[in-house]
Symmetry: C2
Subunit: 326 residues, 2 copies
């Protein structure tokens, strides 16, 4: 049996709506109740009996503290719009939730990439859970895979193809379109970050790699410390020349623990790959992450064409896991 | 803290030796002890204090019952040589272990493919655990992935490239060699079954697909009921003709739950794929399994170049999981 849980949402965009739908769909087996939603633009709504799928927002609560005080959630789901480069304001939201005694689930990679060790310690001190499955690969089991299915395994490194915008841009160029056409396509699909150079220059991948390395390898690294070079200087003629040779450019993040000093080295690079390489086999929004391990060789997770529903599922799976853990 | 466990092995080939090495390597964090090994050819050895990595076998115990009676294991690790078409004698060994009050871990797919429902029920009636992570994809988390990281998810189907011999045969043919050359190569690597037509005619894939469908979709199907056609009629000239067009043949197992009657339909087929297809991107002993789900879209697990050490790790992870569960 799963414990009932009182849940508050911070942010209510496409992922928030998909999450609310999912909870409604699964309400019989998983007795989770959304008791409040606080947003920057739509306002605030609180209902202790649980909100339905089309909540009617009232005026915005005075502050996050006031919202948490009133809604008294057991779990705060942090899905605000992010400044991915700093992790703020999401990191501050997470600290506030811990102060109010709430477990936290977030889909924001920024806090994990920038200050995981601090937030993890805050959670531990408060006796609270902190989960973030949806921060990398949209809800596909990555952190939970490592936590629950690989006992005794040590990660020696990982290799990931984690940024959708770059794949869409390269694919557009392979059709003879321009770099800008590709970026526009990613924007139309709602996939590119507000500033698309964050994707194409490799910083999104660096943030995801930092999140993975911080959580799974205790790397204590920030995205800005990662050796990163994106696809920004790629031209359509170069891409077509490679295509002629059955090669493709992918933005690849590679991490490995150095044998000499034990530190985790990470590199994000536009790599030229054979089209038949498994790293080249994920297209569009699909992602692939390979774990290099001491006992289980190289194993990986692939997620094909995820949508906001999969990010919402990652949040849901985190809450189920908290309900089972506490 | 992990509970100490008394373990007995049934069979001691390459996987058994790798497993014994692994337990030795991990003995500080995981206090598991091999108290007996029973084999058909090498004989039997029992030592309550725990065996070292190079056990000295004595005469073969009179029977499995006599061995289990004397060794009194908490977990029996079933890794005998299998008749994969029937699941025997492994299934009988597993029943015996349950009668003696031992949990069971096996790397033998036969019993899962042929009589999972019965064995699962026997385990439940006896209040014992029954695990088999290593039966499909050599220890990569498949069953545990579903069990622990995908709460609330329903499998609508799966697609797998699960047989190594077929990949090696097709790869040999792509080099201009014959079908028989490819089979010989797989045999030299110790990968092909004793009767290689079991691999090339698709029965190994059918058994793995049945195991997956029985455990994860409650399909109650036997491998012999699966619509199976292997690579046996493939010629080198056809393979080279396809290679010219950047296509490749892979043996693919596909399962889906029928919307009309709710039954699980499985098909194993030599499929012609684009070389850039993700299903074509696993070579040699590498494997790929995609889960099609209701909530998490299509996600998959890939295992690159596994060895008997990875199968041994799957057994180990099952025992850790039992120690945590009971």
């Amino acid at each position: 049996m799963i414990e009932p849980m009182r849940i508050a949402l911070l942010g209510f965009g496409s992922v928030g709506r998909a999450f609310s739908q999912l909870l409604h769909h699964k309400r019989k087996a998983f007795p989770f109740r959304i008791v409040g939603i606080h947003t920057a633009r739509q306002g605030t709504v609180i209902d202790d009996r649980g909100l339905d799928r089309t909540p009617v927002f009232g005026p915005k609560a005075e502050s996050l503290d006031a919202f948490l005080e009133a809604a008294k959630p057991e779990v705060l789901v942090e899905i605000t719009t992010l400044n991915p480069a700093t992790g703020e304001p999401a990191a501050s939201h997470i600290r506030a939730a811990f102060r109010h005694g709430a477990h936290v689930v977030t889909a924001n990679k920024g806090p994990i990439a920038n200050c995981f060790a601090e937030l993890h310690e805050l959670a531990q001190q408060a006796g609270l859970e902190f989960r973030f499955e949806s921060t990398v690969m949209d809800g596909a089991p990555i952190f939970n895979l490592y936590r629950y299915t690989l006992p005794g395994v040590r990660l020696t490194g990982f290799t990931g193809v984690l940024n959708s915008t770059c794949k869409l841009v390269v694919e557009a160029m392979r059709e003879g379109l321009s770099f800008e056409d590709g970026v526009r396509r990613a924007q139309e699909l709602g996939i590119a970050e507000a500033d698309p150079s964050y994707d194409t220059e490799g910083w999104d991948s660096a943030a995801k790699a930092a999140a993975l390395a911080n959580v799974l390898m205790d790397a204590r690294i920030r995205p800005s410390e990662i050796d990163t070079k994106g696809i920004g200087r790629l031209t359509t003629s170069r891409v077509l020349e490679l295509k002629e040779k059955h090669k493709i450019v992918q933005l690849v993040a590679r991490a490995r623990r150095s044998v000499s000093d034990g530190k985790v080295k990470i590199r994000v690079r536009a790599e030229v790959l054979e089209e038949t390489d498994i790293l080249a086999s994920v297209h569009g929004t699909s992602n692939l992450l390979l774990f290099h391990t001491d006992l289980m060789g190289t194993i990986g997770t692939v997620s094909l064409h995820p949508t906001p529903s999969q990010t919402a599922y990652g949040l849901f799976s985190d809450i189920v896991d908290i309900a089972r853990t506490i």
